[in-house]
């Protein structure tokens, strides 16, 4: 059977894309999810704070996911659970592993990739020492505690001030653990300020910047870690080393988009985001294959994932109906001074509905700057920012009417200091 749209991944990105594809006229939409339930990572994010932009209220992760799951059911969108996609190709053939039918082949007119991301593990860190139990990624601990009901430790050190680590510091404290400290290698936090306030300050948990773990102690179970301050080149300073007793180390050192399928299908990847290169329609560089959510770039708010996924779903439906125009007049986007990356990477103004929301991340903390969008040396738009930090995604909206007027060159994004006059 040929499907209209197959969505790979049943997290918030996949759910929103599937609903939007269906609403926009794709008849036969299928979601494939390897987990036992739909919802993706949100199932384990039981804390509050999702949906402020989309629903104008504060929901927990499962509540946010369930609003979309209910809609998937109302629209009678097909989904397969316990099913893992193991291969896709450029012609949109899909091979998946199912519990009952073994390996199955599906042909699709359009594919939306929404596999999300995974956490960096200790392997990526190279901390010397043995391999005792008690070392978890913060997300793994979150799954154990919030979905499976196991407490993972009593005396905890968190390495990395990413949001998941901060949230787990609070969660474990509330469940009776002693969270001794959060260590951050950089001189700033990579987590949202709100999480620093409500997860650390509320419980007097100290956060040490310019600090890292240099040694792991313990044979069977973790017995402690040696921590140290780092210098400006992020090398540990020997004299500052000290031992901290703990039975649990949570790693919250960043997320990486999950793009094995994408790579194998030879879909071009952006080296900075580690996600596919996409255009204004969230289409990858392979016709008919779209992508959205954390598989494209790591978002800190799920609301933005939903916005982006609606575009992908709508575009996939348009593509199936032959309504997505294709020409080579795309403009490339480019981040220069201070901007690490910009998504989407290419813009065809003719495919833009009303405006494009450009997402980007900065490479450092900057205060009092303009976020400027330029083309051919001319300023298209600029937004004043009191502060930008790598932990919080920035966005700029540019109207179609402006994009239509561009005639050559890249769309450049840059930070400019505001001179006091």
């Amino acid at each position: 059977m040929i499907r209209d749209v197959v969505v790979i991944g049943g997290g918030p990105a996949g759910l929103a894309a599937a609903i939007e594809a269906k609403k926009n006229g794709a008849e036969d939409v299928l979601i494939i999810e390897r987990d036992k339930r739909l919802g993706g990572i949100l199932q384990q994010c039981i804390h509050n704070g999702f949906g402020l932009h989309i629903f104008k209220e504060q929901l927990t992760g499962p509540e946010y996911a369930n609003r979309f799951i209910d809609e998937v059911k109302n629209y009678k969108i097909d989904y397969m659970l316990d099913t893992m996609v193991i291969k896709i190709d450029k012609d949109r053939n899909i091979i998946a592993l199912t519990p009952n039918d073994g390996i199955i082949n599906i042909k699709s007119k359009a594919i939306v990739l929404t596999m999300g991301c995974r956490e960096r593990t200790r392997g990526a860190l190279n901390i010397p020492g043995n391999r005792p139990s008690g070392i978890f990624t913060a997300g793994a601990a979150q799954r154990f505690i919030n979905m499976e009901g196991y407490m993972v430790g009593k005396k905890v050190v968190v390495l990395g001030s990413g949001d998941i680590g901060l949230i787990m510091a609070r969660r474990m404290t509330l469940e009776g653990a002693e969270v001794k400290m959060v260590l951050e290698l950089m001189p700033y936090s990579t987590g949202l300020k709100r999480n620093i306030a409500q997860c650390l300050h509320d419980f007097d948990i100290p956060l040490y910047f310019n600090h890292t773990v240099v040694r792991i102690h313990g044979r069977k179970r973790l017995e402690g870690v040696t921590i140290a301050e780092v210098d400006s080149e992020r090398k540990p300073i020997k004299e500052t080393e000290r031992f901290v007793e703990c039975d649990t180390l949570l790693l919250s050192v960043g997320l990486i988009p999950e793009n094995e399928l994408t790579r194998e299908a030879n879909i071009p990847i952006d080296n900075i985001t580690s996600g596919p290169i996409v255009d204004e329609s969230m289409q990858t560089m392979v016709e008919g294959i779209f992508a959205c959510g954390n598989v494209v770039h790591v978002h800190d708010l799920v609301d933005y994932v939903t916005f982006e996924s609606r575009i992908a779903g709508r575009s996939a439906a348009k593509f199936v109906k032959g309504q997505l125009s294709f020409n080579d007049k795309s403009f490339k986007t480019k981040g220069t001074y201070g901007i690490r990356y910009v998504v989407p990477h290419r813009i065809d103004p003719l495919n833009v509905d009303d405006s494009v929301n450009f997402f980007m991340r900065v490479d450092n903390v900057y205060k009092n700057v303009y976020l400027t969008v330029k083309n051919n040396g001319q300023i298209i738009t600029k937004v004043r920012k009191a502060i930008v930090t790598p932990g919080e995604m920035e966005s700029v909206v540019v109207k179609r009417s402006i994009l239509e007027k561009l005639n050559k060159g890249d769309i450049e994004f840059t930070l400019e200091e505001i001179k006091n006059d």
Binding site: I46, N66, M147, K193, R194, D202, A386, I387
Partner: protein, 119 residues
């Protein structure tokens, strides 16, 4: 008394200083009125939504995520978790189901935030 508070109402996260003296409260460092209101509320009676998990029997999961359906005084955070931990609920459970009514006579209920099917 001076207290430092980070405003959580928008991504800017203004770092504010709140001065409290004889019932007079002065806020500085905020960029907008929302920050001031938040700082005052944080000094007078800080409140939070509390989220945790409760034990379930007979379900497709061992635990159900729960939350307080309204903000509750910050001083109750640990008590809410302890109280929830004293209960065991039986499946099925649905999203929004009231599990503990009017906890500590605060007018706040503890509700389920995910569904649990029977095993």
């Amino acid at each position: 008394m001076i207290k430092k508070i980070i405003c959580i109402n928008c991504p800017l996260g203004c770092e504010m200083e709140v001065l409290k003296d004889d019932g007079i409260i002065k806020v500085s460092g905020n960029t907008c009125k929302k920050g001031e209101d938040y700082a005052i509320a944080e000094i007078m009676d800080p409140k939070r939504i509390v989220t945790t998990t409760a034990k379930v029997i007979g379900g497709d999961r061992e635990v159900v995520p729960v939350k307080t359906d309204k903000e509750i005084s910050k001083s109750f955070m640990f008590d809410v978790v302890a109280e929830v931990n004293r209960h065991i609920f039986s499946a099925p459970l649905y999203v929004g189901q009231v599990l503990i009514e009017n906890i500590f006579d605060t007018g706040v209920n503890v509700i389920a935030t995910d569904f649990i099917n029977r095993k």
